[in-house]
């Protein structure tokens, strides 16, 4: 059991060792690449001072809100688009075009519509989080085994019944893929989202500390961000395992 964890962490430990050695050996400047030991010290300081909690909580709030909005809007939309071909044909062109536009290039538009408050930051997160959800939901619907639909129809199911009893359960694995991608994206895009007039947050802190040469603190924030992303990802994996008991392990 312990051995299993050891195996999983061996790559991580190796990475940490290399990271610690690189600045110490002078190969890379210590000023700009803080070794893990310094980063850890900075992290502890930030935790004790309470600063870390302030930045983390507000970032999580923003990420979660953006993500939740994406979930509420994109899953139903994805089902609609996957199920009704006509609807998809109408909207597909627009969606493909909008997908190409990154949150960064939309800054002025977000500013215009949402000002510099929380809403514009949540909008940036929402913008990025929606695509994996939408596309994976559509994909989930479209990749339903037609044979299953035939079978259901032969047993007297009408369209609504087929949607509820066949399409929905069949799409859940794809949905989870979308959820995971979307949720981790929400965390990672905080750096971009908090570029618009923020005064706190992990993403904001990373930029701010970089500019002020508080490099160990900057790496500490980067690490926290990465860890949050990991936690999010593995939480969703765990939830999926609990909900989807019928999938075969490949």
């Amino acid at each position: 059991m312990l051995y299993k964890y050891f195996k999983k962490s061996i790559a991580l430990f190796t990475f940490l060792i290399i990271w610690e050695l690189l600045p110490a050996s002078g190969i890379i400047s210590k000023t700009f690449l803080s070794p893990p030991s310094e980063v850890f010290q900075a992290l502890v300081k930030l935790i004790i001072s309470g600063e870390l909690w302030i930045h983390t909580s507000i970032s999580l709030q923003r990420a979660f809100t953006g993500f939740a909005l994406a979930v509420i809007t994109m899953i139903p939309l994805g089902f609609l688009m996957g199920w009704y071909r006509a609807f998809e044909e109408i909207s597909d062109g627009l969606i493909q075009a909008m997908r190409q536009v990154s949150s960064l290039s939309l800054f002025p538009v977000f500013l215009l519509f949402f000002g510099i408050g929380e809403i514009s930051k949540i909008a940036v997160i929402f913008w990025g989080a929606q695509w994996p959800l939408l596309l994976n939901t559509i994909n989930g619907v479209k990749s339903v085994d037609l044979l299953l639909i035939k079978s259901a129809r032969s047993m007297g199911s009408n369209d609504i019944s087929i949607f509820r009893k066949v399409i929905l359960p069949s799409s859940i694995p794809s949905l989870f893929i979308g959820l995971r991608l979307s949720a981790t994206h929400s965390i990672l895009v905080l750096v971009a989202a908090e570029m618009i007039g923020a005064t706190s947050g992990l993403g904001y802190s990373i930029k701010n500390w970089e500019f002020n040469f508080m490099i160990p603190e900057m790496y500490a924030a980067i690490v926290v961000l990465a860890v949050l992303g990991l936690i999010t990802n593995y939480s969703l994996v765990w939830i999926e395992k609990k909900t989807v008991k019928w999938k075969e392990e490949i």
């Binding site: 061996i10 190796t14 290399i18 050695l21 690189l22 050996s25 190969i27 890379i28 400047s29 210590k30 000023t31 700009f32 800054f107 002025p108 500013l111 215009l112 000002g115 510099i116 570029m195 618009i196 007039g197 923020a198 005064t199 701010n208 970089e210 500019f211 002020n212 040469f213 508080m214 490099i215």
Partner: protein
């Protein structure tokens, strides 16, 4: 299992060696700035919207045995500092706050001359400035006390603009907590759309906004810091130590170029336009360039740096008495320096 571990370790060791090897190659080539004909190349980053004294020096033929080579633009002082400190480039400039911050945290750089400042003697038109704090013409803000609770947008926090703002507030018995200080780009847009109350743009942005009308100047940084060389031109301590003669000649040429610009405004502006265009910039912007603003011979003074040290100490970012200005700059490579 044992085999797998062996392979993993072997891969890691090889990776470390390879990485170290590559980096070593870069380092050795960095040291080799001299070419066969004994011409030294000095690399730098510079945006197309500014001009450097050494760019003038190069055009005017003051640089003998030195080639300057532009590697590209940078996104600001800190990036420039990092580039010089790690040896990717050889000279750069930045506002004092960033130089002090970087030095204190281990970046081994030192300023050797002044690249730009607020000296009236070398400023072509009106009072010098780096930054102006602008409000809309019809804004109710007319003095410091009107700023209570208002939003002020600067380009970066913890840098030149923030501390100048706080000095202004402090002179008027207010503090940072009385206002909302934000980091935002696109100052013209956000001011005119009413998203913020005050913006602190820099350089040609100011000219553009004033030309567009309906804005009013609340104060400028000259009002606060006066005649000060607010940026430092720096090189890495390593480069300085290994090439003192080169540095001396480089500084001399830059100082001479700055003096020439002071005495020949029209030609200087033409030259500025030429340089900006060669960097891929808009030559139109050159007409907004009002000179280097450095004092004679681009010399630096303790007072240039002390203001910022005091603020960083006040802000708890540094310990009192731990550093003095001469830790961050030196005039010893400037042949015009008598001291």
């Amino acid at each position: 299992m044992k085999n797998k571990i062996k392979i993993l370790v072997a891969v890691i060791v090889i990776a470390i060696i390879a990485v170290a090897g590559c980096l070593n190659d870069e380092k050795s080539s960095k040291n080799d700035n001299k070419t066969k004909e004994n011409v030294v190349t000095i690399r730098y980053l510079s945006s197309s919207a500014v001009v450097e004294p050494y760019e003038f020096a190069s055009e005017l033929g003051y640089l003998k045995g030195i080639n300057i080579s532009r590697l590209g633009s940078n996104t600001g002082g800190p990036e420039d500092i990092m580039s010089v400190a790690t040896g990717s480039s050889d000279v750069g400039h930045s506002a004092w706050v960033s130089i002090i911050n970087a030095k204190v945290r281990g970046a081994e750089i030192k300023a050797i001359a002044g690249p730009m400042g607020n000296s009236p003697e070398s400023w072509y038109e009106g009072t010098p400035y780096l930054s102006k704090w602008l409000v809309l013409e019809n804004s109710s803000i007319r003095s410091a006390k009107d700023l209570k609770g208002k939003k002020i947008a600067v380009h970066t926090l913890g840098a030149h603009a923030e501390y100048v703002t706080r000095e202004y507030l402090s002179k008027n018995n207010m503090s940072k907590d009385d206002v909302e200080l934000l980091v935002m780009p696109r100052h013209e847009e956000i001011l005119r759309q009413g998203l913020v109350d005050v913006v602190a743009p820099v350089g040609a942005q100011i000219d553009k906004m004033e030309a567009g009308g309906e804005v009013r100047v609340l104060f400028t940084d000259y009002d606060i810091i006066g005649n000060q060389t607010h940026c430092g031109m720096f090189m890495s301590e390593k480069f300085i130590k290994e090439n003192p003669e080169v540095v001396r000649h480089f500084v001399e040429a830059s100082a001479k170029a700055a003096d020439w610009a002071k005495d020949h405004p029209e030609e200087a502006q033409e030259l500025a336009a030429k340089i900006m265009m060669a960097k891929g910039g808009n030559p139109e912007m050159a007409k907004y360039w009002k000179g280097f603003g450095v004092r004679e011979h681009a010399l630096l003074l303790d007072s240039d740096v002390q203001f910022w040290i005091d603020w960083l100490v006040k802000d708890g970012r540094m310990n009192e008495g731990q550093y003095k200005p001469s830790d961050f700059y030196t005039n010893e490579f400037n042949p015009f320096f008598k001291g």
